[in-house]
Amino acid sequence: MGKTCVCGAEELQVDTKAKKFTAPDGTVVAEGDVISIDGSTGKVWLGEVPVEPSSVVRYFEGEIDPDSDDADDLVRSVHRILTHADEVRRLDVRTNADTPEDSARARRFGARGIGLCRTEHMFLGDRRQLVEKLILADGDEERQAALDALEPLQKQDFLEIFEAMDGLPVTVRLLDPPLHEFLPDLTELSVRVALAEERGEPDEGSLRLLAAVRGMHESNPMLGLRGVRLGLVVPGLFAMQVRAIAEAACERRKAGGDPRPEIMIPLVGAVQELEAIREESERVLADVCQEEGVQIEALIGTMIEVPRAALTAGEIAEYAEFFSFGTNDLTQMTWGFSRDDVEAAFFHQYLDKGIFGISPFESLDREGVGRLVQIGAEAGRAARPDLKLGICGEHGGDPDSVHFFHAVGLDYVSCSPFRVPVARLEAGRAALGGDRAGS
């Protein structure tokens, strides 16, 4: 079952009724005491023991050469089997990474590019204030000033990621979450303002922020103002991001690098949305190339994560050079599940009642969500035969789902760095007709 387990610890006197056990040295461990167990050696400790990476991870990190004496039988076997899986697989494996560190690690683990580089993480921390300024901007001038301040920071992020993934595609997703996610919590802010007013010292900035937070409050943010909708509603936002991508790529090119940016528009449901953003993005790309005197190619494509996008994939493909199926959102919207609300609330009951054997967020629901992926892939390819097809939901690292993506003819899966070796192996097994369970 794969659960860490130690058994045959005869020296321990276990009293399940009194909820305690006694070690040979007289130590009594009661319910709630932290213990550490090592399923590989059978050792049991009181307290928390620090952990280190396994030899297989050290091999993936490049710290163990599989042909050297440092490699044990296991590392050599893993190396041979993964090498063969790489030879036979048709699916490419990319990674979901937002930082240079993750990008570099995923590359060491065998990722052939980034399938999802989210940009929202680049708006957090100190930069949150700049986002606040953007949101609170009064007029075009203030807004542009806020964007201009964000742009060089974004560019720096992309520079480092392009460097880590030099020569390999990096799919950058333009801003996806609703802007109010970058603002303080409504309740917290309300209390702060109320307290300030009670003291008779209302602060103008907080009042303005509160008004903005109230104004932007959404009862269902997942279906609200986010993704491409933001790009269309907040002037200059996506243009700033595209400019940062283009400038970073130009700079890498000038430095002798080989950046391969791909610009991905999230949450598209209608071809018109994509068409508008595409035009803007192409204009910015051309401007930057001219300013920098460097020619860069950047594919422009879209996430397919709204059911309508999958159903109208043929039209959308006319304006997209690639599709990346965002199976997390596609699952939410196909089932009508808000993941944050449903998983903890009643999924265990659904599992108990056998409504599904495994959460559709964990392993792709082939019949429903998978059907939409298939429709989208087929219609997209029919409209544009050289359309690149990938998937960047968490399902990209799930063995069973990888087999499905192989079967419906996607070009690549993208998953978190630590799942990259798993996806490589399963892509090979899928090509060889192996099943999930092994033989």
């Binding site: 050696t41 928390e48 076997s77």
Partner: protein, 443 residues
């Protein structure tokens, strides 16, 4: 469904009939047809189980077919089920197509009752053995067929041992065990309102139905869902002549692997327990000796076992695990299957088999899984630090788990639902702990 064949003799099946005969039944048939020493027996098909689950009862022809195959088995053994003078005893064991270890039920020594226990004592020349076998039957039957909480039997047995000032089953003599049988029968009466069934055929039929019912036990359902085993596959039932590992020092029982299921290393791996019956080894109740020691205990049986294992591994082209019994120096194979192994062993064995020319690299890739690779990427403990080592147990499943100790499956689930990381601590784990094991970081 008139004319449907619901039962196959071990001589009639093969390893390719897993869907119909279950994994255990198909492999018993395969070994039988390879000429390996398997006690005679027959397999009731998964079709019969499906019929039972759909209709709430066995197919009408099953009763007559059981009678027919039982008659053949009695003839092969030269004994009659439950005969007061010299009883044939059988084991009734489940076996689904997909491996569901520990999920389903086994009842040994079916055919013993207040009379035939005397016959067994005479025939075996050991009164202690006969009464020990009888108490095992009531215990297993009570737990798995009559659904009585096993702790009641464990406590009664512990009490009997405590009265004799011992912790070992072997220190109980025939008289003590007669007393344990009485206590066990009282437990059955207390919890079911009826006496332990004395009719051997009734015992057998009840055990068969209990196997069918156990397909839909809560823990089997959880396991299937988790492992994605179809819920309508059903299980087969194997009825097999008993052989005894608890007849004395020249008998015993063991489990063996054709390679180390922990690391994949080649060599002799397994455990042997002298003078014991199967569940003693699996349950880890008594301390076993390494399989290699069998060479000194019973050289001929050891040699035959080694030859048999080599034959099985090249026949199955994979690591096999085996359950065997030695009854008065005679080796009997009770089960084999392509063995479970740790994630590390899966990788190592796959490439070993390539190097031995048994499989190619394509097959090696098919034989390991992404889930196994993910396990190999778990971090491991750094030795030292502030924590104090409490004990050294056996390495059952790799990984490094840290969490708060909890002592029941229910608590593990409750704490985990609160977002706590827990380690489940049990005296012995049994299948009822499954939901807690899933909820815990480790156990």
């Amino acid at each position: 469904m008139a004319g449907t064949k619901w039962i196959y003799d071990f001589t009639e099946g093969s390893k390719d009939q897993k869907d119909l005969l279950g994994g255990k039944g198909a492999n018993l048939a395969e070994m039988t047809n390879l000429g390996l020493p398997v006690p005679p027996g027959f397999t009731i098909t998964t079709d019969a189980c499906r019929y039972y689950l759909e209709h709430g009862g066995t197919p009408p022809e099953l009763d007559a077919q059981v009678t027919e195959y039982l008659a053949a088995l009695q003839e092969a053994m030269g004994k009659t089920l439950g005969d007061p003078a010299d009883p044939l005893l059988v084991s009734v064991r489940s076996g689904a197509a997909a491996s569901m270890p520990g999920m389903m039920e086994t009842v040994l020594n079916v055919g013993l009752n207040d009379e035939s226990v005397q016959g067994l004592a005479q025939q075996s020349g050991s009164e202690r053995f006969a009464w020990d076998s009888y108490r095992r039957l009531i215990q297993m039957f009570g737990k798995t067929v009559l659904d009585i909480d096993g702790e009641h039997f464990d406590e009664a047995l512990d009490a009997a041992k405590a009265e004799q000032g011992t912790e070992l089953d072997l220190d109980l003599d025939a008289e003590h065990l007669k007393d344990v049988v009485d206590r066990f029968k009282a437990i059955v009466r207390e919890h079911t309102g009826t006496d332990f069934p004395q009719d051997p055929r009734e015992q057998m039929d009840m055990a068969i139905n209990a196997v069918f019912d156990s397909w839909n036990s809560d823990r089997a359902i959880i396991y299937r869902r988790r492992e994605r085993i179809p819920s309508d596959a059903g299980t087969a039932v194997n009825v097999c002549a008993m052989v005894f590992g608890n007849l004395g020092a020249d008998s015993g029982t063991g489990v063996a692997f054709t390679r180390d299921p922990g690391s994949g290393a080649q060599g002799v791996y397994g455990d042997y327990l002298q003078n014991a019956q199967g569940e003693d080894v699996v349950a880890g109740i008594r301390n076993t000796v390494p399989l290699a020691d069998l060479d000194d205990i019973d050289h001929d049986a050891y040699d035959e076992l080694m030859t048999t294992m080599a034959r099985l591994e090249s026949h199955y082209r994979d690591l096999c695990d085996i359950e065997f019994t030695i009854e008065r120096n005679k080796l009997w194979m009770l089960q084999t299957r392509v063995g479970k192994r740790t994630a590390a062993a899966a990788f190592v064995i796959a490439t070993q088999l390539v190097d031995e020319g048994l499989i190619d690299m394509d097959e090696a890739v098919r034989r390991v899984t992404g889930d196994q690779l993910a396990q190999l990427m778990f971090p491991r403990f750094v030795s030292g630090g502030d924590a104090t080592q409490l004990t050294q147990g056996m390495n059952a499943s790799p990984g490094a788990a840290v969490g708060k100790a909890v002592f029941s499956s229910e608590e593990a689930v409750r704490w985990a639902d609160r977002g706590e990381q827990v380690v489940l601590v049990r005296r012995e784990t049994n299948p009822d702990d499954l939901s807690g094991m899933i909820a815990a970081q480790g156990c």
